[in-house]
Amino acid sequence: MEDGGRLETQKVALWCNYVFVALTAIGWLGIAHFILPARADLGLDATKVWYTQSHRMGVLVGCTIFYIAAGLLTPGSIQFGIMLAKIEGRRPVMAITTAVCGVFISLIVFFNCCAWVVAAYRPQTGADVIQSWNDWAWMAFLLGWIYLTIEMLATGIVELMDRRPRPMVPRWMTWFTFGGAIALFTAAGPAFTKSGPFAYHGLLAYYIPVAIWGAYISLTTWFMMKELGREGSESTPGVLHRDRPAVAAADRAPAL
């Protein structure tokens, strides 16, 4: 009963990742209109109009939803770490790295939301102040790619340690994770340009990294959820799993 309860808690933590992705899409991309954000080369007055007139309420509501979602990324990331620690065994450096980076990203998103809310908060605020808050939020958001890259690399390294005939995460997903981790490098561009695909509203700096992030969280959660399902059925008497030798008890115990 206790194990079943723990499995349920772990499933809830993983579900937090799905909720995070859904709320991000609805709140931030949709309601706050960051699917088409204020461009980096928009200019002072136009940026102020974007935040204080065109999308003011959308930004306030959407970013509120987004920071709530960011909070949910914390248990989801910790559960990523716990699932990986089951594979990595004792002293799970990589698994802890995944979890901690996920928590960092959760905090980064929280502070981004605060900055975007500040930009839209007082319509009488000066245009240069609004633009500065907007720039700061985008830089903090996108330059955080380094934590996501480290998280994804750590996740992929642990997944490669899974030598079972049917690993928790299929190998194609592991290599997708590595590819995505490296491709996130393009999010380093916004510091150097205000227009084009490397600007913070651009294809390479923004849309592709965000798509990689969403795909990584959604797909990894999906495979971990299936693994939890298998763990649950393996602990059920009378169910045979010929292709999945049980992970050693010592390895099962996460040392987080």
Partner: protein, 204 residues
């Protein structure tokens, strides 16, 4: 599902024999990484073409400042290195293990030569005052070639690793997936340059 074929001319005629492995070269799932990298580069190439479409005169004028002779030489160097690496994989398949390190380190040497010539080219451009901040073309030029050089350095390091391991006879015909993966990555680096060379240096 087991994979079997019935060979008509062998005896006994009805006995099923295992068919040849249909696996892709390299470690399991590695082609997902290759495919993903190709998609990212395709997006980069498309974005470059879109930028070029926006200001063809600037891009053409900037293209003329590049040293296409040195880049052409680098193309030959990379093609040679890919050939060397392909020979290394063939040697492993035939269990000609003495030849493997020679071919692999031939690829490493070619990779280092590419980096040397590319550094000379960068040096000439920087000395002429061309930097990533000069204009849109130079931004794209340094970005695309920089990412490619980063790939090349990773590939050269991996080749040096498998070359060292192959000296210790770590790979043979039934254990060659890591060598194949590195070779596949090296061919990708080569193919990317084959696209980059005409895109940056030759396209009028």
């Amino acid at each position: 599902m087991s994979c079997t074929v019935t060979v008509q001319q062998s005896l006994p005629p009805t006995e099923p024999q295992p068919c040849k492995s249909q696996r892709l070269p390299g470690v399991d799932g590695f082609w997902a990484f290759i495919g993903f990298d190709c998609v990212i580069f395709a997006v980069l190439f498309f974005s470059f073409l879109q930028a070029r479409h926006g200001d063809p005169a600037l891009f053409e004028a900037s293209r003329r400042t590049l040293d296409s002779n040195l880049a052409g030489l680098n193309t030959i160097i990379l093609l040679t290195s890919s050939w060397m690496v392909a020979l290394a994989v063939q040697a492993v398949k035939r269990d000609e293990l003495d030849r493997v390190p020679r071919f692999v380190f031939g690829g490493v040497s070619a990779g280092l030569l590419f980096v040397l010539f590319k550094s000379v080219e960068y040096g000439h451009e920087l000395a002429a005052g061309i930097t990533p901040a000069t204009n849109a073309f130079s931004m794209w030029y340094f970005t695309l070639t920089g990412i490619h050089v980063a790939h090349l350095l990773v590939g050269t390091s991996l080749l040096a690793y498998v070359g060292t391991k192959s000296r210790q006879r770590a790979y043979h015909s039934r254990h060659r997936a890591v060598l194949e993966s590195v070779a596949t990555f090296w061919h990708l680096v080569d193919v990317l340059w084959i696209v980059l060379f005409p895109l940056l240096y030759l396209q009028r």
